[in-house]
Point group: C2
Chain length 180, copies 2
């Protein structure tokens, strides 16, 4: 995993991939699958929607940090599996054979099997909507990985895999943040 400039971290979330959110509650690591995410600005602010019904929520609320990891299509059954059991009674890292790497700024682990990881701090929780606001503080990309296609949850139990990429950089030049 190589370092990715934090100013590019939003490009990992903007396409709308399924993500894994890793937490550490002071004793145990846990991970949940989240498909409700949104970029908030070009300075690595993101929102996820969750709530007390998720076991990870208490850790997010108390530790104010997490790692967002982006799985590719080869991990679809891992992502679905993580989303259909609870950290309350399951060590998901063991059950799904995930390899942890140490993060720099947060206690939650990076996930080596994922193509990208973002270390995040919780900067706000909008409780009335279950919106957790995150700020990315470090990002990593596994640039050597061959499988790069992420997955998009439809919400009905089906998922759409990335297809081809279209380039409209020339049309959008004036609207893009500098350096992209």
């Amino acid at each position: 995993m190589q370092s990715l400039p934090i100013g590019r971290a939003f490009t990992l979330i903007e396409p709308g991939p399924v993500v894994l959110v890793a937490t550490n509650d002071g004793r145990n690591d846990n991970v949940m699958t989240i498909t409700w995410t949104m970029v908030l600005d070009f300075s690595a602010s993101f929102a996820i929607t969750t709530g007390p019904w998720n076991h990870s929520y208490a850790a997010l609320e108390q530790t104010r940090e997490c790692v967002i990891a982006v799985p590719t299509v080869d991990l679809i059954d891992t992502a679905v599996g993580i989303g259909t059991c609870s950290g309350k009674d399951t060590d998901k890292f063991a059950r799904f054979g995930l390899t942890r790497a140490k993060a720099k700024h947060v206690r939650a682990p990076l996930i080596r099997e994922c193509i990208a990881n973002i270390e995040c701090r919780v900067t706000d929780i909008v409780e009335r909507h279950g919106i957790v606001v995150l700020e990315g503080v470090a990002a990593y990309l596994d640039a050597a990985r061959k499988e790069r296609r992420t997955i998009h949850a439809v919400g009905d139990g089906t998922f759409v895999v990335d297809g081809r990429r279209l380039d409209r950089r020339d049309m959008m030049r004036a609207k893009l943040p500098a350096g992209l």
Copy 2:
């Protein structure tokens, strides 16, 4: 366009497609391209991130309503074009040859060229994050349309087109809302 049960509207937004947001400020229709969206619940609540720098924001704030329309890949240059000019000085419906249809519950128009449209009310604005919370009140799908692939903005001027669809409904049955 045929009616889509409002309980399924979140499946239009959850995969993370680029969307068009149509408004009417009492005099003129306008439309903007938004790539920062998020589902908030299974009852057709969505969030979009925007702010006063977008001409449409004043109409959203004042009229408390809009239409979210979902374009497919054949409309990518329309979506990018809409996102790179302003309703302040441009009649975007004329410029991009968009066909309006009358909505039932809101004054903003539906867009016939899009595969799906959701009539929405603004239920909240979280000003400190630029988050506009919407509630879908009616949804429509153009089921006869052959091109159904939506587009996902990466944020750097490139876009990922939908690829193939994977079915994990059996694995997820217990987690899906009833009736999906």
